[in-house]
Structure formats: structure tokens, C-alpha cells
């Protein structure tokens, strides 16, 4: 946390500014575009429900395409939120405190988007409950628990429920803050939402335990979710899908795309909402390093896949990968390789990973690349099956495109509403940083001579990349009092 003269009151004021005031022009423009997108989604999904999935470009050979691609893409994006809030909490990385709230919100909205594809692709969405083991009129013919698709239903619904509970528990103290500053109807609404939070010793004590345990159980949960998603493919006998590398490869990909999406959102958020002092260059650089690392893991996984296909000497396996690289979908494969493997390597350069515009563009490039990854895995493995006479290409219809573009609109509609009505940064958790990791506090300690000179110098050097720290503030660090 950077900035001067920060007090507990100023933190509350800064973060609640967008909640307690009328939204600005940027919010309205963004919201209008997002709602238009969401309307496109409503139209496309309604059309799909009305006509059936014949509305999509699927054919006998390619039975899964954009829909499942979009589903896996959204679920993957969701993973970063849980990772930031849970894994970084367990590792006591307190820089997460200023980004966890918006990242968790992103998780929830991304999983909502993902879940809509699952329901839509069932063909008869009004029978979606058949995926759950409910007593039924067929003499209780149960679901097949040997199927990863059934595991997925359990995994995604558990993941959504636990993420929602985690997010809302964290919100309680902050909703109470809004409540106690509001009047009239607004106070009544936030009072109901705050569950009567009062911040007593026992409440905080239990709150911290709940957060820690939820973090502890969310960590294996998030790993299990994408593992199970990958098993939807890996347990089949389709060349290109039938590989044991899928679970770790999918999880790394999910973290990779999720952090890219967090980066895309936060870079705009900090600018539009004036959160530069809370979401600093430290956050941006750390996330870029995570993107670079997970991008490299994904790259290794791609190469391993190729090697194993060659090493297996299985005709079908080798053909599947040859077809990916050189077949009619080679453009998709090489887009994926460029966006996911080469572009994150640029973050090795400090200039690039501390540049805000470049980070933003690269984060979008990564998201595009990760969409292509799922498209490549799904469509190129299916479109040329064992019988050459049934080989086919996949061409999306307007409904396919509408559902995908529309879901991005839906996501941003929800996200912008969240920023309008709830604090985008966890207020209580950021207050914890004021007297530990804020620049203000560190300056005070440095001036009192608490650190050796070379440490102060190192700290000053590391501050140079911050756009929210002025040169004066850096110089002040070496003034002894």
C-alpha cells in the first residue's frame, strides 16, 4: 500500500467512494455496453432453448465445440479468484488483501457463466436436474457415478457454493461499514445484508477461523474442479484427449488464464476507481510473474504432449497431433502456441512486466490464447475421427458466437453491478496492512533508523517502478529523524 497521510478513515472513504456516490460516466458507458452484450446472450440462449442445440454449428463428427470450449474457458478463469483468496491466505501473502475481493467476485461470475453452458448444452435444459441423484419415476434409476460428467456436476456446484459462501462471509464486515455510514432505505437494505455484524472480539475470532478453514478446504477443491473437468476428456478414448498429463496441465492452464483475467480487470479497476494506492505495481508485477511461470508450465505440457504422442508410436495418437500442427486447424494451434507459450515469456523483461499498457495487452492475448487452447483440444481431436468418410469441419453459427460474446457481456454486467453496490477491495483486510506493509509506515520506521542503510537503499530502488510513488517520497526514506 502506498500513499501519504493514510488513516483508517481514509481507507474507508477511498474504497467506498464508488459505492456511496453516483457512478461516473465511465461506469455508465461500460455498463451500457455490458448490458447490450448480456441481451445478446439472452437472445442467443433463448433461441437455443427454443430450437434445441441444432441452432449451433455442431455436426455428427464434431459433437462438442464452442459451447464446451467456452465452458472450460470460464471455469478456468474462475480459478484464479479462489487461488488468490485461498492459497495466498494459507501462505500468508498479505498482498492478496487488496485484490482478493474483486478476484473472488470474478470467480463467482465466471462460474455462473460457465454453468450456463453446461445447462445449455444438455439440449433439454428443463431436465437439467437429471444429472443429480434424485429419486425418480424410473424405479430410481440412479446417475452413473463412474462418469466424470457426473463428478463434474458435483464439483462445479460445490465449487460455486463454497466460493459464494467464502466471498459473502468476507463481505459481512464491509457491508456493516456501509450500513453504519448510510441513512434511510440504504441503511435498511445493507442492514439486512450485513446479517447484524458488529465486529466484537468473538465475531472477529470466529471470522478468522472460518476464513482460514474455508481457504484450507478451497485449495484442494479448486484443484479437484479442474482435474475433474480435464477428466471429462482424459477418461475418453479419443486420441488427443486420452492422456494422463491432463489434470496438472489443465490446472496450470486455469491458473494461467485466471490470473490473466484478474490482470485485465484490475488494471482498469485501479485506474477508473482511483485505487492506485491499494493495487500497486507490486501486485501487477507479482501477477505477471505468476502468469509467466504458469505459462511456462503450460508450454512444457504442450511439448510433453507432442513428445509422448511420438514416443507412444500409436498411429492414431501421432496423427491427432500431426493434424493439430499441420491440418486444417493449424492456424488455431499456432495462435494458441504464440499467445500462450511465447507471449508470457516477454515478462522475463522487467520493463515489460512493469509496464501497465503492455501488461494489459498481454493479459488479453493470454485469454485469447487460452480460449484457442480449449478449442484446439476439443475440435481438432474430434473433427477427424477413426473413419475418414465422416471427417468434417466445424463452422460456428451466429448463435454460437452470440452465446460466447454475450456471456462476456453477462460477466461484465455482474462485475460492474458488484463494483457499484459492494466494496471492490476488502476494507477490513486492507486496514490490517496500514501499520505493517504500507509505505507510510515503512517510511516512518526507516526515518527512525529501524533498518540498515543498504536495506533502505534496496527498498528505494524497488520503489522506482511504482507509478503511485513520487520521487520525493522515495527520497524521504533516507531522511533520518
Amino acid at each position: 500500500m502506498t500513499g501519504k497521510d493514510i488513516t483508517y478513515a481514509k481507507i474507508t472513504d477511498d474504497i467506498l467512494l464508488p459505492v456511496e456516490n453516483k457512478p461516473n460516466k465511465a461506469w455508465w458507458i461500460g455498463f451500457t455496453v455490458a448490458v447490450l452484450g448480456a441481451l445478446l446472450w439472452v437472445v442467443s440462449v433463448s433461441y437455443t432453448f427454443w430450437t434445441g442445440i441444432g441452432a449451433w454449428g455442431l455436426n455428427k463428427t464434431v459433437g462438442w465445440a464452442w459451447d464446451i470450449t467456452d465452458f472450460v474457458w470460464w471455469v478456468g478463469i474462475g480459478h484464479a479468484g479462489t487461488l488468490i483468496s485461498a492459497v495466498l491466505l494459507i501462505f500468508r501473502q498479505n498482498w492478496r488483501n487488496s485484490i482478493n475481493r474483486s478476484a473472488e467476485a470474478m470467480t463467482i461470475f465466471a462460474v455462473i457463466c460457465a454453468a450456463t453452458y453446461v445447462v445449455a448444452h444438455m439440449g433439454r435444459p428443463w431436465l437439467a436436474y437429471w444429472i443429480f441423484p434424485l429419486p425418480n419415476q424410473f424405479g430410481s434409476l440412479w446417475v452413473n457415478f463412474n462418469s466424470p460428467l457426473v463428478w463434474d456436476a458435483f464439483a462445479i456446484s460445490t465449487y460455486f457454493t463454497v466460493s459464494l459462501v467464502f466471498w459473502y462471509c468476507g463481505l459481512l464486515p464491509d457491508i456493516a461499514t456501509i450500513r453504519d455510514r448510510a441513512t434511510g432505505l440504504k441503511q435498511k437494505i445493507y442492514s439486512v445484508l450485513s446479517f447484524g455484524w458488529n465486529g466484537s472480539v468473538k465475531t472477529w475470532q470466529r471470522f478468522e477461523i472460518v476464513s482460514l478453514i474455508l481457504a484450507g478446504i478451497s485449495t484442494p477443491l479448486v484443484l479437484s474442479v479442474h482435474t475433474i473437468v480435464s477428466m471429462d476428456f482424459a477418461t475418453s478414448v479419443i486420441p488427443g484427449w486420452h492422456t494422463t498429463i491432463f489434470p496438472p496441465y489443465f490446472v496450470a492452464g486455469a491458473i494461467f488464464s485466471g490470473f490473466a483475467m484478474v490482470q485485465t480487470l484490475l488494471l482498469i479497476l485501479r485506474k477508473v476507481m482511483n485505487f492506485e494506492n491499494y493495487i500497486t505495481m507490486f501486485h501487477i508485477e507479482s501477477m505477471n510473474i505468476i502468469i509467466m511461470t504458469t505459462g511456462s508450465i503450460v508450454g512444457v505440457a504442450y511439448l510433453t504432449e507432442l513428445f509422448i504422442a511420438m514416443y507412444s508410436r500409436s498411429e492414431y495418437e501421432m496423427y491427432a497431433f500431426e493434424n493439430r500442427m499441420l491440418g486444417p486447424y493449424a492456424w488455431a494451434y499456432w495462435s494458441m502456441m504464440t499467445c500462450n507459450v511465447i507471449s508470457p515469456q516477454l515478462f522475463w523483461f522487467k520493463k515489460i512486466r512493469t509496464s501497465i499498457p503492455i501488461s494489459w495487452i498481454l493479459s488479453i492475448v493470454v485469454n485469447i490464447g487460452m480460449w484457442f487452447e480449449r478449442f484446439v483440444i476439443i475440435v481438432t481431436s474430434l473433427h477427424r475421427d477413426y473413419l475418414p468418410s465422416s471427417w468434417a469441419m466445424f463452422y460456428p453459427t451466429w448463435t454460437d458466437v452470440g452465446i460466447f460474446v454475450g456471456s462476456i457481456g453477462l460477466f461484465f454486467t455482474l462485475f460492474l453491478l458488484f463494483l457499484r453496490f459492494l466494496p471492490g477491495i476488502a476494507i477490513a483486510e486492507v486496514k490490517l496492512l496500514l501499520k505493517s506493509s504500507s509505505l507510510q509506515h515503512k517510511t516512518k520506521l526507516a526515518q527512525e533508523g529501524a533498518f540498515p542503510a543498504e536495506q533502505v537503499e534496496y527498498f528505494q530502488e524497488s520503489l522506482e517502478k511504482y507509478d503511485s510513488v513520487t520521487e520525493e517520497e522515495i527520497k524521504e526514506l533516507s531522511v533520518r529523524k
Binding site: 488513516t7 463412474n146 447484524g196 458488529n198 478453514i213
Partner: protein, 178 residues
């Protein structure tokens, strides 16, 4: 005798409040509760608040989830309607792991949070028991029961000595939201 029910020391800094707790305790003045905008580490030990037993509840709910999840699978797949899939055993343990795991996590999370809400009386629409409106913003409130501790002048001076920005004498226990 005044109508004061609670004396509130309002601090701008958590360290000052901790200091205030020490001072009051040294003078044998019991503290009713503290209300803070953020968790204060180490305050439970100081006030003698016992460690939470929520982890035990969480474990029990998790264990219940494991049992229920596994029972569901065993009942449906092995007992009620076993399926012959290529002659493979219907009691396929490895396939039972994912769903059992998910049900465990789900019940553990929901059960623990429900216990937390129940024990702290948190539910939608509950009237907030707040003693000072700024306790959720920028003030750290130390509440002393004025009926139990009658030497109000001493409390006042101790709180101010510790660095309280404001000392309030409240006639009603909680802030009215009406």
C-alpha cells in the same frame, strides 16, 4: 446515580486500545467487549477469550459429509441398482473418490459457516447490536459496563491516559437504527 449503562473508550489506533485494556485490567476493571473495524491479533489472549471450537465443528461436518457421500454412492451403485459394465465390479472404489470428496468439502463449508452464524447470531435481517457507529469505520471501541464498575472518573482518566480520542457515556446499550 446516573443512567449511564456503558462507558465507551473510542480509540483511533489499535495499539492505544490494547494499551487501554492493560490499564483497565491493572485496575481490576472488567471489560465488557471490544468492537473493531478489523481483526486485532492477540486481543483474545489479553481479554481471556477462549480459543474458538469451530475447527472441531468443521471437522465433524466434514466427516459427516464423507460418510453421507460414500453412503450415497454405495447405496446407489452397489446396493440399490448395481450395473454390469463389461463385467467390472460395481463396487469401484477409485471412482467413488471424487464425489465423496466434493460432498465432504460442501458439508464442511456449509456446516461450519452455519455454526458460525448460529453462535454469533448472524442472519439476514438481524438488528445489529452496535454500540458505536464508527466501530465499523475508523474507531476501536472498548466498552466497560458502567453498572458493574462504579468508579467512572477512574475509568475516564485511564482511558484518556491510554490515548482514547473520546470517552462516551451511553444511556442505552446499543445504537438505535430507527
Amino acid at each position: 446515580m446516573s443512567n449511564t449503562k456503558y462507558i465507551l473508550g473510542s480509540f483511533a489506533d489499535p495499539d492505544d486500545m490494547m494499551h487501554g485494556i492493560d490499564k483497565l485490567q491493572a485496575n481490576n476493571i472488567s471489560i465488557y467487549d471490544c468492537f473493531t473495524p478489523m481483526p486485532i491479533h492477540g486481543i483474545e489472549a489479553k481479554l481471556g477469550v477462549r480459543p474458538s471450537r469451530l475447527p472441531i465443528a468443521a471437522f465433524c461436518f466434514g466427516a459427516l459429509g464423507t460418510t453421507l457421500g460414500f453412503s450415497l454412492l454405495y447405496y446407489t451403485m452397489v446396493y440399490d441398482w448395481p450395473m454390469n459394465i463389461g463385467g467390472k465390479p460395481s463396487f469401484a472404489m477409485p471412482n467413488f473418490v471424487p464425489v465423496t470428496f466434493e460432498v465432504t468439502i460442501l458439508l464442511c463449508a456449509l456446516g461450519m459457516v452455519a455454526t458460525f452464524f448460529f453462535r454469533n447470531h448472524l442472519f439476514p435481517g438481524r438488528t445489529p447490536r452496535v454500540m458505536d457507529l464508527r466501530a465499523t469505520d475508523d474507531r476501536f471501541i472498548l466498552a466497560v459496563d458502567a453498572k458493574e464498575n462504579t468508579d467512572h472518573a477512574l475509568i475516564d482518566s485511564l482511558l484518556k491516559e491510554a490515548g482514547a480520542v473520546e470517552v462516551k457515556y451511553n444511556d442505552r446499550k446499543y445504537v438505535s437504527y430507527e
